[in-house]
């Protein structure tokens, strides 16, 4: 999985922004979403990302893992990532 051809990512103090330049849509990302995109850019396997974030953020509740899974699904649904 990688960012789609027309999607640009930039890290910001608050997290990051995804910019889909074909439709000229901008998505503002919180730190968890930013961490997901960073993993995608690094080439991590999609199935491993939620678990890695859970570990990194030391999230006992599993909330971040669920958040990451939902975010990846949303990236797919919006066409912001491709295989």
């Amino acid at each position: 999985m990688k960012l789609a051809k027309y999607v640009k990512f930039r890290e910001e103090k608050f997290g990051g922004v995804l910019f889909e330049t074909r439709s000229e849509k901008v998505f503002t990302l919180n730190p968890t979403a930013t961490a997901v995109v960073r993993e995608i850019q690094a080439g991590s396997d999609e199935r491993d990302i939620p678990g890695r974030l859970k570990e990194r953020f030391r999230d006992e509740s599993g909330a971040i893992e669920r958040e990451a899974q939902a975010f990846i699904a949303e990236l797919r649904q919006k066409g912001l990532v491709e295989d």
Partner: protein, 322 residues
């Protein structure tokens, strides 16, 4: 987690480390002399102090270093700039997304193939008319057939196409046909809005300005066309009047910079205010000033004055340095 989309124009600039979009008018020189041109471009109209090659590439380098994700080159006619293809190659080579805004007269098969090879995001062509008669009346020295052929050449080369349309009293009735033509030519997007009273339009307004009744019909047709082409071609249009737009911008400055051919940076095209000079300041410094510049009381006053004197937009080229 939900990530509602917005646009560069609707994205607040306050928290961002750099602009999301840099709209660069690379030269004021143009092969045409269009009735409505907001930049008063035309043959022999290049600014005497346009950025030299070293300055141009220094600005591009800064933009890429700051990870400005999206740039556009316009003019004037950007394709007459002596280093046009080198500039395109630099931005695309550093993975920037680049849109070219052109009148389409230099889009021969060879140039289209080069644009494709270099990887531009899209080329936007101005087609202000669905017929030779209206287009050529609007685009003085222009040739409808040449512009249409240019779009066909883009299509053949596989370059994504956008069409831009400026309404006037004599072409507004063709909007439906123009949207259909854009779709037939293979455009991905169609853009239009209200024509602004500035630049050449100040001199030609009496024979060019659409009436409010024309605008009403114009936007009704565009609403219908938006639905008709949904999923095939995006139809974007701004019904909002300039005053309304500027009042919104005062509180929500867009995350974009307008760069003039001489390196001056404007707050927005529809205001005369300059917040930086790329010949003397870095892009990062200017971005740092941008948000504060919008708060300057002169900006708010200018917008307030527009409510009683809409023709103040005639002075947009009398730059005010903040």
């Amino acid at each position: 987690m939900s990530i509602p989309p917005t646009t560069p124009a609707a994205t607040g600039s306050g928290d961002l480390s750099a602009p999301l979009y840099m709209a660069w008018q690379v030269t004021n020189e143009c092969n045409l002399a269009c009735l409505h041109c907001i930049e008063e471009s035309g043959p022999g109209k290049a600014f005497r102090d346009e950025l030299d090659d070293g300055q141009v590439f220094a600005v591009l380098e800064q933009a890429m270093d700051l990870e400005v994700p999206y740039l556009s080159f316009s003019g004037g006619e950007p394709m007459v700039h002596r280093r046009f293809f080198d500039m395109v190659a630099y931005v695309c080579g550093r993975n920037g997304q680049l849109k070219i805004e052109t009148n389409g007269h230099y889009l021969d098969p060879e140039n289209c193939a080069r644009l494709k090879d270099l990887g531009v995001k899209a080329v936007q062509v101005s087609l202000d008319g669905a017929t030779r008669e209206t287009f050529n009346r609007m685009r003085v020295r222009g040739d409808f057939d040449k512009a249409v052929q240019g779009v066909r050449n883009l299509r053949a080369a596989g370059v994504p196409i956008e069409i831009n349309y400026s309404p006037t009293s004599f072409n507004a009735h063709e909007i439906g046909t123009a949207v259909d033509l854009a779709a037939d030519l293979g455009a991905d997007s169609f853009y239009t809005g209200r024509t602004m009273y500035t630049g050449n339009a100040v001199k030609t307004w009496h024979r060019m300005a659409p009436t409010e009744a024309q605008y009403e019909t114009y936007f009704q047709i565009l609403h219908r066309k938006t639905e008709e082409y949904r999923g095939r071609m995006r139809v974007h249009f701004h019904e909002m009047g300039l005053l309304e737009e500027l009042r919104y911008r005062l509180h929500h400055p867009a995350a974009l910079l307008i760069v003039l051919p001489n390196g001056l940076v404007k707050l927005i095209n529809a205001l005369p205010f300059v917040c930086g000079d790329l010949r003397r300041q870095t892009l990062a410094e200017i971005w740092g000033r941008f948000q504060r510049a919008w708060q300057d009381p002169r900006v708010g006053k200018f917008v307030d004055d527009l409510a009683t004197d809409p023709r103040k937009t005639a002075t947009l080229h009398q730059w005010v340095y903040l």
